[in-house]
Structure formats: structure tokens, C-alpha cells
């Protein structure tokens, strides 16, 4: 009575495998495309350099002058009052504080990296360091929102949502935008919000404090039914839904789309769990990344990259760990927890041939003051800080821009967050001025009315 079974039998004979999987594949391709699946891959504006983004988010705000932006002048004037011209209100009365960490030229490029990153510095020839970042507000919440959504209020879609809206996702069995954090960063879900974009573009937040593949995605696992029992249930459901559709003249793509999406959900249960299952990795690979939440998240990000997830964001830790007001020496711990894993990720992507098409972004919501706060700490700093990118389409072993000699203000080739967003979109094949969504009677963009692609860092 149902053509479904005919097709299924046909598929079974062609594919020779598990009929239902083939069925799902076919239904998925046809019906979801028919119904304009919002996640189907879409054509970029021009040939993309990168197919996906891995954003390593050092939440809390890592200090630029202690990591990738060496400032010998700052050290020389340690303890002195900062030049009045460089200092804004909040830092008045504070004194300059040289970095307690040593910088050294690394790699063929000779880019200076602080001792905090012994492993990562071996990859410096693959990295494009931007030493002239700037954002609007030196407070966590607005700065986190700016870095993630291009706006300081929680009323705009996040970059990951824009990317999946603009490009769809290659793998329909996984969310197009995944956010990993052991716990939750400050602000929380608005950082991966779809806002006014359709709900499907929301980031899927996974607390990777303890990764259990059965629970990474809501309801991805059925604890009551065996696979066979569930298959049987779904077969009956399909028959009822096909009968229902046929009684309505087979003319409504919404009905077919839902039939297909249920089939895909069935398959997704197994594929999604597999994607997050680190036990599938070899001992050697796991050793490369090291241990800890962040290392695990980096490794998962590579597994997701392989599976076509459009954007994976890895928050370094719960809350805002890099926020070292009290003692900048704590940066040592954060670096130690992440150095090896970041280096491993870059090397692993390279060895698998994924590096050229994956854009890795590193940075926090802002930098930290060149002056000291208390005796040993540093405060929030927005007028000049460092981020870096590597992989898909950016120059290798390259430094872009500079802050002044003390590290206060981006004075050369300033890159505002909007510019960074425009550049990331560009690398993904999107013209940031053309990726728009009509809402509230106007076309919104990630970059609002701002943003210039930083052409000089493109490879």
C-alpha cells in the first residue's frame, strides 16, 4: 500500500546495506531539500578559503602583553606611572607592570611568543597573530556579546548562527554550530543565540565537563527501547504518516519533510553519539592532546570538523578563568592547561589534511591592562589586544598590526571586532555586507553598518 516500502526495497537492493539508512538518506536529500531545509548546505558568495571555524575562546580575557605581544619598554619602565596620553580614567594612579614572562623568537618567522606557550610556539610559523585588536567596552558582558554577536546588547544572532544561516551545514546529522564549555561562560546562552534567526541556527551548548556521548545532545539516546524496537515503531509511524499524506494528495511538502526528519533523527542518534565518543581515538592521538576538559574539547572540535560541523566554539573554562585581576601569574595555569592541546589541534588538523580548510581562531573578549591592578594583577583592557588565527586562508607566520610601545592602544592597522567578523566571514566565502536577514523592517548583518575585511592577512 505504500510506495515507501517499494523505495525501501529498491534501496536495500542497491545499497546492500541496512535499508532504513538508505531510506533516510534518500528521504533526507529529497524531502528536506523540497521543504527548504534550513540547514542544507548553501552556496557561498564566492569560493571559500575555509569550510569551518574552530574558535578557541579564552574567556575572561587573556593578557596580550604576557602572551603574544612583547613589550620590552613596559618592562623597562616597570613600576613607573604610565604616560598620561595612553591612560584612560580607570587606570589612573596605577603603575606600569612588565610581563613576568620571558618572550623569545620562535620558528622561522621569528615571531616572539612568551614562555607561557612552549608547545604552541612550535606552531608559530602556521599562525597569523593580530596584535591590534580593539573592542568597545572593557567589561565582560558587553565585550563577550560584541565578540560573539557584534553588538553589546543581547539582541543579535551570534556569529555561529550567522554562519550556519548563511552556509547551512554539510552534515545533517549533527548541529551546524556546537559550543563546548566545561560549565558555562559568563552571559551564557546569549553568546550562541540565534536571536531573530530561526531556532535551528542556535548553537548547541555541550557541557564537556564530563562527556557522555549518550547525553551530549538533548534526547540523543533512547534508554527504554532497543534499536529494533524503535525501528519497528518508526516503521509504523512512517506508514501512518504516508497514509495521512496520501489522503491529502501528496501535495504538502511540510508533511513529507517531517517524515524525513524523523528518519534522520533515528540515524542521528548513532552518528551524533559516535562523533562525541573520544574512546574511538587512538592512544597516540589522545596523548598528543593531553588530558583535561580543554584538551578533550579540542579533540572533539577536530572530530566535529571532520564531520562537517560549520562552527565549533571551545570555551577555555567555566565562568571567566582568564580574568586575572589579582595575580597575572595565574595565566601560567591557564596556559599550561591549554598550550599542549592547542598545539595538538593544529598539528592534528595538519596531519589529516584539514588545516587548510579549517579556520582556527584564538582569543578572548578583550586583553588586559599594561598597568598593574593591585600588586600583581591586570585589569580589563579594550583598546588594544591580541588574537590569532590559523589555517583556512590566513597568512602563516605573520604578524598583523601593533599596539604602542607599552601595549595600551592599537596604533597600527587596528582591527575592530567588526573587522574580525568581516574577515572570518570572508574566509568562509561570505560577503559580510550581503549576508542579511530581514527583521524589524530592515536587513540586519553580523557587522551591522561596520566591518572591513582585513585583506593583508589573507594568504
Amino acid at each position: 500500500m505504500t510506495p515507501l516500502f517499494t523505495r525501501r526495497e529498491m534501496l536495500g537492493s542497491i545499497g546492500g546495506g541496512f535499508g532504513a539508512v538508505g531510506l533516510a538518506g534518500m528521504l533526507a536529500q529529497e524531502a528536506l531539500a523540497d521543504s527548504a531545509s534550513p540547514l542544507a548546505p548553501k552556496l557561498p558568495h564566492y569560493a571559500p578559503k575555509a569550510k569551518r571555524v574552530i574558535f578557541l575562546f579564552m574567556n575572561g580575557g587573556p593578557s596580550h602583553v604576557d602572551t603574544f605581544d612583547p613589550k620590552p619598554e613596559l618592562t623597562r619602565h616597570n613600576g613607573q606611572a604610565p604616560p598620561a596620553s595612553l591612560v584612560k580614567g580607570g587606570q589612573a594612579g596605577r603603575t606600569l607592570m612588565g610581563s613576568p614572562f620571558k618572550f623569545e623568537k620562535r620558528g622561522k618567522s621569528g615571531i616572539e611568543v612568551s614562555e607561557l606557550y612552549p608547545e604552541l610556539s612550535t606552531c608559530i610559523d602556521d599562525i597569523c597573530v593580530i596584535r591590534s585588536m580593539a573592542t568597545d567596552i572593557p567589561n565582560h558582558e558587553p565585550a563577550l556579546l560584541m565578540m560573539n554577536s557584534g553588538n553589546i546588547q543581547p539582541t543579535r544572532p551570534s556569529m555561529g548562527s550567522w554562519l550556519t544561516y548563511g552556509l547551512g551545514s554539510v552534515n545533517q546529522n549533527l548541529p551546524g554550530f556546537v559550543v563546548l564549555c566545561p560549565g558555562k561562560p559568563v552571559v551564557g546562552p546569549q553568546l550562541w543565540s540565534n536571536s531573530f534567526l530561526p531556532g535551528i541556527y542556535q548553537g548547541t551548548h555541550i557541557n564537556n565537563r564530563s562527556i557522555d556521548p549518550k547525553h551530549v545532545i538533548p534526547d540523543v539516546n533512547n534508554s527504554r527501547l532497543s534499536r529494533d524496537a524503535q525501528r519497528k515503531q518508526l516503521d509504523l509511524l512512517n506508514r501512518m504518516n504516508v497514509t495521512h499524506r496520501e489522503a491529502r494528495g501528496n501535495a504538502d511538502p511540510m508533511l513529507e519533510a517531517r517524515i524525513a526528519s524523523l528518519e534522520m533523527a533515528f540515524r542521528m542518534q548513532f552518528e551524533a553519539q559516535e562523533a562525541f565518543d573520544l574512546s574511538k581515538e587512538t592512544v597516540a592521538t589522545r596523548g598528543l592532546y593531553g588530558t583535561g576538559d580543554f584538551a578533550d574539547a579540542c579533540l572533539i572540535s577536530r572530530r566535529l570538523a571532520e564531520r562537517g560541523v560549520r562552527m565549533t566554539q571551545v570555551y577555555y573554562g567555566n565562568d571567566q578563568p582568564w580574568d586575572d585581576h589579582g595575580d597575572i601569574l595565574n595565566h601560567r595555569n591557564h596556559a599550561k592547561n591549554s598550550d599542549r592541546a592547542i598545539a595538538a589541534l593544529l598539528k592534528d588538523l595538519k596531519s589529516r589534511g584539514l588545516f587548510e580548510e579549517t579556520l582556527v581562531v584564538w582569543g578572548g573578549e578583550f586583553g588586559r591592562t599594561p598597568t598593574s591592578q593591585g600588586a600583581k594583577g591586570r585589569d580589563h583592557h579594550n583598546t588594544g589586544f591580541t588574537m590569532w588565527m590559523a589555517g583556512g586562508g590566513v597568512k602563516r607566520g605573520h604578524v598583523h598590526g601593533a599596539t604602542d610601545e607599552m601595549g595600551f592602544v592599537a596604533v597600527q592597522d587596528k582591527v575592530h571586532v567588526h573587522d574580525l567578523h568581516a574577515t572570518i566571514l570572508h574566509l568562509m566565502g561570505i560577503d559580510h555586507e550581503k549576508l542579511t536577514y530581514r527583521y524589524s523592517g530592515r536587513d540586519f548583518r553580523l557587522t551591522d553598518v561596520h566591518g572591513t575585511v582585513v585583506k593583508s592577512i589573507l594568504a
Partner: protein
């Protein structure tokens, strides 16, 4: 309701192009991704894409490819030799060589050719070309000329041929426009379909089998009118329609940010006010006035709380993180944007930075409304007696006193820690530092953490000690480090001494000496302090100038080794200081904490409040913010209504903030937008599509009305009927158009694919609220309690209607977000309808579905003697409002032979028939 409305994607994969087998589809899709798409994107799209379409051809969408160019199709699926695209890239024909700048690489040509041969599969969906926006905007033609700003005109409905069908004026308008396109309406829906449609429409719940039966039996001509009246009279109506309004009001009970966010635990009072107002059929003009200015209008004292609760429209608005200078302006903007889009269908907020590009709204207009909002402040009105409020305030004050006391105590005791450590632990750290530096000689990889652990010290303090002790230059000026210097000077940089007990003992002695020195120095400092104050007291404030002092070196030692910023640095505010306090102090602290707990326990919970607004102590007149920047100011913009909707020469608002005057201007018969906008919203919820398809934008960038005269008729009727929304529902629902079947003809689908002319009823998927509520209803579990505080939707025993779920702007419930519930940070006029596998996971696996399935199974199998087929039949009636066909029963019975009832019940609940309404 537009499938993925507003996204602008067209379904574009043409099955005609896909000629390959299913297995190949996946491969071809991959091939397209990696080999074809980049070629098209890089070499073709700049001339055949969104900006230019040379020869009428677009190669950035499958639609464009399928359509071809001016000379016809460019690709014949399966036949590269017949495809002009392949010809062109191969440069076969001297007149047709693409791309013109230079021939593609062989690999690229081969890829295109192979792709066409395999069926030219284009596996993605792409953005459809935007509707061309011919901007003859309101601004351009002058506002009197733009349709939505013109007065509402009542026009006699046209005469139609099909008088039997088109009895009501509404139907005559609709039938006439169908006739112009040669379309005929669909037949009348059967009674089961009709009652299911009407019941979901008005109440968000399915009809019960008894209700269906009663309707079937009632053969009077008024049978359906009676159903509509019955439904409008149930309180379920208000619950259903309140949610439509709450989408517009971006109703939420907290804020998106976390730091010092303002929360609204009694926000539900506003939600309940909306439900009650709709159930009472409060005139729509009054409904608006109360929400804008409920605190400023007269009315019975007994309804005062209700009028204040109405102010939740503003009171529950966004309060943003205050760290930015524009936050206050952003908060005003939220109110203006929400208000103007919801009530007027105007995007006034576009005029924040510049005059509206398309509509007659200036920045002066915007800042006039902003002045009204600036003169309005958030206010919590207590729902408690003055005595209760006072009692609460007192206990809060007491809590603050005790909390401050504890903090001060921890701080002052914490300050002592470094000194205590210096006098007790110095030797241990000196030894550990020595051990570490020696151990590194043997093994450079040895870590601070490892040695710290072995030596029983803390790693970060050890880091500091090493930095301190290894600063050779500074050490020369530290007389108390002479022994240490001597000791390490002799060290061989290659020999690890840390394993030698004799060497260790020497270091231990040096460390102990340093520790003793610090202890003595601190003791001396304290006794000198005591001496100093005694001397001062004795000499009546005129101390002797030659009082004994510590040496500078001693002071430095204390500062570097025994202060909070020194080697034993400690952040006194943090929990770490607490852990280091000595036992007696810890006990005192514990006592103080217990006192605080007792005070807190004894103090009453915060009294309930109404989250609302009030006029500020004095009105505010803002200046225009040039380019939206609060720092660059233009002319004053006193509070007043939009100039395009005001009579010439009208004066600024004069009373307080001007809110009441604003409310009156919006809720006015003379204002053509207010009535048009609300009738269009009601229409859109009934038919799935508005007469204006952009319900919150009646400006130039919005859609034009499909039936402008019908819209005006409805608007006029609303006002004539005393702004009664229930009357409006009746007029709409008792039409022939509403009673049509949802079956469409091929002709209708071709001539009018979006069903703008309503020649059939639009099938709809239930919103998440109605779907969840319907499941609880058919399983018999629904808790029908009306109103009250919100309940967490994730709570497994939550059987309330979904309307009563907690609505968080910070973290919207996962089920709601997954199923297209709008972001409560922003006003929303339409729900997206997305269909994705993640939703399927909820259907297949969620605890919620499993519980409903069990409950439904229990309900249908209560009678142990009942035959299986009879149970199945009852299930169909209960869920779908229709009897099951015999083969459907057979399918169910067969399934139940080998599967438990709950599995079957889940299938019924998961079915499309249950989720969609015809």
C-alpha cells in the same frame, strides 16, 4: 503562515534534475560540494549571480540553473554533449566561450562535465532572489498617499457570481479576487475537520470526543456558530490568544545577562492580565491604554492592581548590563520598538540614528517617543501591607549589617595571614625553593607543582619564593639573606644536592634563621607601635622626634615576605584566605555565619510586587542623538506622537511623561494603523497568513495588503463593535472562507502557490504550546488550573498548559527553542516553522513523550476486558477526532501483538495527523 517565513529560501531542488539513484545522490552531493560549487562560485557567479545576470542566466541557485538563460536551458541533465554550459566552458564554439577571461583548467571542465552527466545534482537550498523592492515608499509619495496612513474607508463589497458561497461581506471580497484569477473556493470542510480547526484556533486544544459528537448531531444551521460561541466563552480562549500577544510583547521573566540582572518573579501577573483581559473581551483600545498608561487612568479601586499589572508591557522590558554608556538608550529603544511594532506596525526604531529611510518617521519623532520613555521609570508596586514592607526592609537592613561585619572580619583576619605564614612557614619555603632549584639540575622538566606537593607547600607561593630568592642583584641589598647567599654561592650548577640530608639540614638552618628574624622583626614592630602610641598619649600628641624605628631593610623584609602582596600573597576577599585562618578565628567566623543564617531564616521573603512603571519625578525632554550617539546632541524633542499620525500644529504632550496622551493617540479611532494592525493579526492567526503578510510592518518595506478593502472593512467593523475582538473572531470564523477544506487543486497551487487568495484553507502545524497541551489533554493529564506563578517546563510533573512555563530571556527552555518559540528578547510577529531532526529526537526519545505514551496507554487499556481493536478505535477518536479505518485498526492490532501499548501510544502521539491541523 509562511513555511520558514521571512527566511527567503525557495525550495529549489528540482527532482527532474535528479535522475541518479539514491546511492549516488550522496556521492554527487559531495562531488558538487568539492568540485563543482567552487568552480561556479569562482568563475561564473560574478556575471551570472545575484548582482549581474548576463544573458538572463544565474548560476548561483539551482533555480537559476534550471531556468537557464535567454536562449533556454544551459544544462540537460545526463547529457553534457547537449548542454550549452559544457559547450561554453570547453570553448567549442567560437561565439560562446565561457568564462570569457580565459579557459578553465582541464580538471574544472572535466568536473562540470562529469557533474552534468551524473544528473547535475544541486543538493542545496539557496537564497531565492529577494523580491525586488521598488521603493515607492510612504516617504516618497507623502504620507497621505501611502496606503496604511490613509484613513480607513468602508467600501461596499463587490458583487460576485457565486452568491451562494459568498454570503458575508468578507466572503464577497475574497470570492471576487478568486474570480479575477479564475479560481474557485474549495468545498466546505467536513464537520470533524471544522470543529478540530476551530477548537485549536480558539483554545489551542483538541475537541473532546463528546464535543465532536454534539456538533455532528446538531443539524441546525447555527451549529457551527454555537461551537464558536462556546469556544469563545471558555477561559481556554484567553490562554490561547494571550500567547499571541505575549510574542509581540517579548514577554520574559528575567534578563539575558547575568551580572546584577533585574528579575521578574511576579512577571506572570502581566501574563495573567492579558489572559483575563482577552477572556473578558476588554475593548482593544482599553487593552492598549492600560498597558501603556495603566497607572495614570481612573477606574475602580478594586481593579487598580489589574491596571498596574497591565504595565508589564514596559515593566518587564529589557534592562541591560549597565556597563555601557548606551545601555539606557538601548532600554528606551526596546520599549519604543516593541510598542510601535506591536500596536502600529511601524518600525519607528529605524529612526534612532537617521530619519527613516522609507517611512515618514524622523529622528525628531523617535526622540519625542524616547522623551516619553525617559520620563518613565521602572517601579515595583508592593502587593503587601505597609507593615509587611517595613518588616521586610528592616530585616534586609539587619542582614546587610551582619554581612558587612563578616566581610570586614574576614578581611582583617585575612590580612594577618601573611605574617603568620612568615613566622611559621618561612623555613619550609626556603627549603622547598632550594630543593626545586637543585632538582632541576638533575631533571630540567621537574615542575613546581611536583616539588610543592612533595614538600607540603603551595605551588604559587613557592613560585614567589623562588623569584624572591633567586634575584641575585636585589639580594645584595638584603642583609638578612647573607647566609642564604653564602650557601647557594658554593652550589655547583650541575650537582643536585636536594637528595643529601646533610645539605638539606644546612638549608633548613638558614631558613629557620630567616624565619626567626622575621618573627623577631614583627614582634619588634608591634612593640614599637605600642610604644609609639603610649608615647603619643603620654606626651599629649607631641611625640619625641628621636623615637626608635625599624631599619629600612627590616621594613622591606616585612613588606616582601610578610605582607599580602609579598611572597605569601593572599587575596583576602577570596575563599582561599578563609581556609588559611587559624582555628580560633575560624570558629568565631563560623559563629558569625550562624548568626547571619539565623537572621536570614527569621526574615520574611520579599513581599510580592507588580513589576511596572511610573512617571519619573519630573518629565524629561531629550535632545535628538545625532547618528544615535548619546554624546552628540541635536535639537530638543519634547514628548509627542508621530507627526505623520498627528494633526498639523498639534502640541507636545503636557501631562507628566506624556504616556497617557501617547496611549490615547495610539488607541484612537482616528489613527488608521491601530485597528488595521490588530485585525490583520487576528486574521493571520485564523488563516495562517495576514492580509498584510508582514503583520508588524505596515510601512513601505512591509508587504502590501492582498485585499486592502477587506482589511479596511474589518478595521471599521472592529471600531463599530466597540473594539470587541470576540466579535471580530465571530465575523471571521463564520465565513465560507474559514470553513473551506484544506485540499488544494493543482490549478490553485499553480496560479496562487502561496494561497494569498484563500481558495483553500491553509494546513498548519501546531505551535509547540498547542502540541504539548494537546498531548496532555488526550492523555487525560492536563492540569487546567488558570493563571498563577510560572512553572519550569523541564519539571517532569509539569502538566500545566505551556503558557504557564517559565520564560527566560537568559536561557530559553530547550523544548521551546527547539520548536520555534521566539526569542523573548525581541518582539516577534510570526513564528518560524522549521522541521529538523533535532526535533525528531524529542519525539523519539524524550522523557516527556515516554510519559505521555505511558499515560495514553494506561487510559486506553483501563478496561482489561476490552478487545484490542476497540482500544485502537478509541485512540483514533480521542487523538484525531475521527473513527479509524479498518486497515488502520488492523495495522495497530498487528503491531500490538509484539509490542507494548506504550510504544503504540507514542506512535499515535508522534503522528503528523496529531501535529497538523487541516
Amino acid at each position: 503562515m509562511g513555511q520558514t517565513a521571512g527566511i527567503g529560501y525557495a525550495a529549489i531542488v528540482s527532482l527532474a534534475l535528479v535522475t541518479s539513484t539514491a546511492r549516488a545522490v550522496g556521492d554527487e552531493s559531495e562531488f558538487f560540494e568539492t568540485k563543482v560549487r567552487p568552480v561556479l562560485a569562482t568563475h561564473c557567479v560574478s556575471c551570472h549571480g545575484p548582482t549581474k545576470q548576463k544573458a538572463g542566466l544565474r548560476l548561483d541557485t539551482a533555480e537559476g540553473l534550471k531556468k537557464g538563460g535567454e536562449s533556454g536551458p544551459v544544462v540537460i541533465a545526463g547529457s553534457p554533449e547537449k548542454s550549452r554550459l559544457v559547450d561554453a566552458v570547453k570553448y567549442h564554439d567560437a561565439d560562446l566561450q565561457m568564462p570569457p577571461k580565459g579557459k578553465l583548467g582541464d580538471g574544472e571542465i572535466e568536473a562540470l562535465s562529469r557533474w552534468v552527466k551524473a544528473g547535475a545534482v544541486w543538493p542545496e537550498v539557496s537564497k531565492s532572489p529577494k523580491p525586488s523592492i521598488a521603493i515607492e515608499g510612504a516617504k516618497a509619495v507623502g504620507h497621505r498617499g501611502f496606503w496604511s496612513f490613509q484613513p480607513v474607508k468602508k467600501v461596499e463589497p463587490p458583487s460576485v457570481k457565486d452568491v451562494g458561497w459568498a454570503k458575508s461581506p468578507i466572503d464577497r471580497f475574497l470570492r471576487a479576487s478568486m474570480e479575477t484569477k479564475g479560481l474557485a473556493p474549495s468545498p466546505r470542510a467536513d464537520k470533524r475537520t471544522l470543529i478540530r480547526r476551530a477548537t485549536f484556533d480558539l483554545t489551542g486544544l483538541p475537541p473532546t470526543p463528546d464535543e465532536v459528537d454534539a456538533f455532528l448531531k446538531d443539524e441546525s444551521p447555527e451549529a457551527f456558530a454555537k461551537v464558536v460561541d462556546r469556544l469563545l466563552a471558555t477561559p481556554r480562549y484567553g490562554e490561547r490568544w494571550a500567547r499571541h500577544w505575549l510574542d509581540l510583547a517579548r514577554y520574559g521573566e528575567d534578563q539575558a545577562h547575568t551580572f546584577q540582572a533585574r528579575l521578574f518573579p511576579q512577571g506572570y501577573l502581566y501574563r495573567d492580565w492579558v489572559v483575563k483581559s482577552l477572556n473578558a473581551d476588554k475593548p482593544y483600545d482599553r487593552f492598549l491604554i492600560e498597558q501603556i498608561a495603566g497607572d495614570l487612568i481612573d477606574g475602580p479601586e478594586s481593579e487598580k492592581e489589574s491596571r498596574l499589572a497591565a504595565l508589564g508591557l514596559f515593566g518587564l522590558g529589557a534592562s541591560y548590563y549597565s556597563g555601557s554608556p548606551t545601555a539606557v538608550a538601548d532600554e528606551r529603544d526596546d520599549k519604543i520598538d516593541t510598542l510601535c511594532r506591536a500596536t502600529l506596525g511601524l518600525t519607528v526604531a529605524c529612526a534612532r540614528c537617521h530619519d527613516h529611510k522609507f517611512d515618514p518617521i524622523s529622528t525628531a519623532d523617535y526622540y519625542s517617543l524616547a522623551s516619553v520613555m525617559a520620563g518613565t521609570v521602572y517601579k515595583e508596586y508592593p502587593r503587601a501591607s505597609a507593615a509587611e514592607v517595613a518588616k521586610y526592609d528592616q530585616s534586609q537592613a539587619a542582614i546587610k549589617v551582619k554581612t558587612d561585619e563578616i566581610a570586614a572580619f574576614v578581611r582583617s583576619e585575612g590580612m594577618k595571614i601573611p605574617e603568620r605564614m612568615a613566622t611559621q612557614e618561612t623555613a619550609r619555603y626556603v627549603v622547598a625553593a632550594w630543593v626545586l632549584s637543585n632538582a632541576k639540575k638533575a631533571d630540567p622538566k621537574v615542575t613546581t607543582v611536583a616539588i610543592a606537593k612533595r614538600e607540603g607547600v603551595k605551588a604559587d607561593w613557592l613560585d614567589r619564593w623562588i623569584a624572591y630568592l633567586s634575584d641575585k642583584k636585589a639580594n645584595e641589598a638584603r642583609p638578612y639573606l647573607a647566609r642564604w647567599r653564602k650557601l647557594v654561592e658554593k652550589d655547583d650548577p650541575k650537582v643536585d644536592l636536594s637528595t643529601r640530608p646533610d645539605e638539606r639540614a644546612k638549608v633548613q638552618a638558614v631558613g629557620q634563621a630567616l624565619q626567626d628574624y622575621l618573627r623577631a622583626t614583627l614582634a619588634l614592630r608591634d612593640s614599637l607601635k605600642a610604644y609609639e602610641s603610649a608615647d603619643k598619649a603620654n606626651a599629649e600628641g607631641a611625640p619625641s622626634s628621636d623615637r626608635p624605628k625599624l631599619r629600612d631593610a627590616d621594613l622591606k623584609a616585612v613588606e616582601q615576605l610578610a605582607s599580602v602582596d609579598g611572597t605569601f600573597n593572599v587575596s583576602v576577599a577570596g575563599g582561599r584566605a578563609e581556609a588559611l585562618l587559624d582555628d580560633a578565628v575560624k570558629a568565631t567566623l563560623k559563629g558569625k555565619r550562624a548568626e547571619l543564617v539565623a537572621i536570614k531564616k527569621a526574615s520574611p521573603d520579599k513581599y510580592a510586587v507588580i513589576h511596572a512603571v511610573a512617571d519619573a519625578s519630573s518629565p524629561t525632554t531629550l535632545r535628538v542623538h545625532l547618528r544615535g550617539n548619546p554624546a552628540t546632541l541635536g535639537d530638543e524633542a519634547p514628548g509627542r506622537f508621530l507627526s505623520a499620525l498627528s494633526a498639523a500644529g498639534s502640541k507636545p504632550f503636557a501631562k507628566g511623561s506624556g504616556r497617557l496622551e501617547l496611549a490615547t493617540a495610539i488607541a484612537s479611532k482616528g489613527n488608521p494603523l491601530t485597528a488595521r494592525v490588530i485585525v490583520n493579526r487576528v486574521w493571520a492567526h485564523h488563516f495562517g497568513r495576514g492580509i498584510v503578510a508582514t503583520p508588524s510592518n505596515f510601512g513601505a518595506m512591509g508587504d502590501r495588503p492582498s485585499h486592502p478593502e477587506l482589511l479596511d472593512l474589518l478595521a471599521a467593523r472592529l471600531v463599530e463593535n466597540g473594539w470587541s475582538l470576540k466579535s471580530l473572531h465571530r465575523e471571521i470564523m463564520l465565513t465560507s472562507a474559514y470553513a473551506q477544506s484544506s485540499e488544494s487543486t493543482a490549478k490553485a497551487r499553480e496560479v496562487d502557490p502561496e494561497n494569498v487568495l484563500l481558495s483553500h484553507f491553509g494546513r498548519r502545524r501546531l505551535e509547540v504550546e498547542a502540541w504539548r497541551d494537546a498531548m496532555l489533554a488526550v492523555t487525560g493529564e492536563l492540569d487546567a488550573t488558570l493563571g498563577g506563578p510560572s512553572v519550569d517546563l523541564t519539571s517532569s510533573d509539569n502538566r500545566r498548559r505551556t503558557l504557564y512555563a517559565k520564560i527566560s530571556r537568559h536561557k530559553l527552555d530547550g523544548l521551546l527553542r527547539q520548536f520555534d518559540f521566539p526569542d523573548p528578547n525581541l518582539t516577534s510577529d510570526r513564528r518560524n516553522v522549521s522541521t529538523v531532526p533535532l526535533q525528531g529526537l524529542f519525539v523519539l526519545n524524550s522523557d516527556f513523550m515516554a510519559r505521555r505514551a505511558e499515560a495514553l496507554a494506561a487510559r486506553l487499556t483501563k478496561d482489561a476486558k476490552e478487545a484490542e481493536d476497540s482500544r485502537v478505535r478509541r485512540g483514533f477518536v480521542l487523538l484525531f477526532g475521527r473513527p479509524a479505518a479498518d486497515d488502520e485498526v488492523a495495522m495497530g492490532v498487528e503491531f500490538l501483538k509484539s509490542s507494548p501499548w506504550a510504544n503504540y501510544a507514542q506512535v499515535l502521539l508522534s503522528s503528523n495527523e496529531f501535529l497538523f491541523v487541516d
